[in-house]
Symmetry: none
Subunit: 132 residues, 4 copies
DNA sequence: GTGGTCTAGACCACA
DNA sequence: GTGGTCTAGACCACG
């Protein structure tokens, strides 16, 4: 799996990293229980400070996406927890996106079509050849 | 229109303000060409510094949601521009949301249902009772 | 002669007005010794405050583009004065424009071609049919 | 590279700063990818507030002259973008300068000569003695 | 150590 | 009266 970091973006590096890994897990590019690269190794690969990678891993751990074992390192969690708080957060994100779409004169059909396309893309259908 | 600011949140005040106003425009709580409150007036109402409000207004202006008229102050723009760059940004936001949903074992049906609900909510259907 | 004012621009209205009138004089749309519209009349036409028009006229008078007669009102001056200070100002403006052009990878030929085109345009060649 | 700020001038400090840096980039006094001084460092050198420098840097970033890297700070951009909008802006600047020149009885030859001189000066030919 | 954010207060330009 | 500009200082996020 390839992770791209843009050091010129306004969003913090650890957040970009966290987002990329979530995308990777959803697309099954990071298999369940597969160990993630070590903090120092990934930091070296990306050319960033290992504290930054550490922070991203901590966030992912707090959100339940990964589990961190002191000996085995980080690995993808079986399933993410705390789905109630998550639904509230998801709803907020989507409401804002929808509001932005409405302001840009996008009707419901087009918005839902975009949502569907993004879901498919996130699932990695295009990358894996569709059906599994 | 009521704007709520959470000073406890980690996200910057100007960003919260920007998001609230976008939601307000989408829900038609802020009519087209309706003047927004003055920078200092809104700041006083919210109990925050006027520079913070100013930054939010500047962002909204850059994004094309509002225009700042020298005579009448800030007002809702007729229509937001630069839809090409917007589509790319929207797609990125939705892809991340979709990935998070997938990690939480949400299937496509449920995700799309949530998207639809959020679109309706953003449009203010729930608030106005649907048809008028 | 048509004057266009953009109340949503960041540059002050009186400056826009001043620039438009200078362009008009150069293009001979405002003939020598022709009286300019009255301060209050022009303000009403443009839908702006007459203090704003007044300020623009004062600037033009200070720069020598027009003369203001208490009885006859404002009119185009025979010739602009203070050419030494002007040359310095012009050089400064052009140097900055040239620097911006260089940063955008524009070579000398293209820059000079653009300068020539702008000079012709300012002289109103295209509008008046070329020769006089 | 030496930056001079005139606190007596009517034009805002951040604009003067922005212009000086553009001139510096064009004259190659600031090499490509060379890091600019830090916001607070430059502010201290110039004896002005760091917010003022920050605003100038933000403008330059928006215009594509510099990029702000999270690790290395601000640096000269490889190449400025959005040349279409730029050409329109450049044409407007030059037209106004040309109009002013015409009002001061400057003929086309003299105007173009001045443009050429300014281009050379901006490129830094005069400073380096022409050929190297 | 660097930039980002927020607050606060003063002055001026603008309409 | 409104926004724009500049200054100043404090705190935190980031790397």
């Amino acid at each position: 799996m390839i992770i791209e970091i843009n050091t010129q973006s306004t969003s913090p590096l650890y957040e970009q990293l966290r987002d990329q890994i979530v995308l990777g897990i959803a697309a099954k590019k990071l298999a369940l229980s597969e160990p993630l690269p070590s903090v120092r190794g990934l930091a070296a690969d990306l050319g960033i400070n290992f504290h930054t990678v550490n922070k991203a891993y901590s966030m992912l751990c707090d959100e339940g996406y990964i589990v961190i074992d002191r000996r085995k390192g980080a690995m993808v969690a079986q399933t993410a927890i705390d789905s109630k708080a998550f639904l509230s957060k998801l709803s907020q994100q989507l409401s804002l996106s929808a509001a932005e779409a409405i302001c840009h004169d996008m009707n419901e059909c087009d918005f839902i079509a975009t949502c569907t396309a993004c879901y498919q893309k996130a699932k990695g259908v295009a990358d894996n050849g569709g059906s599994l």
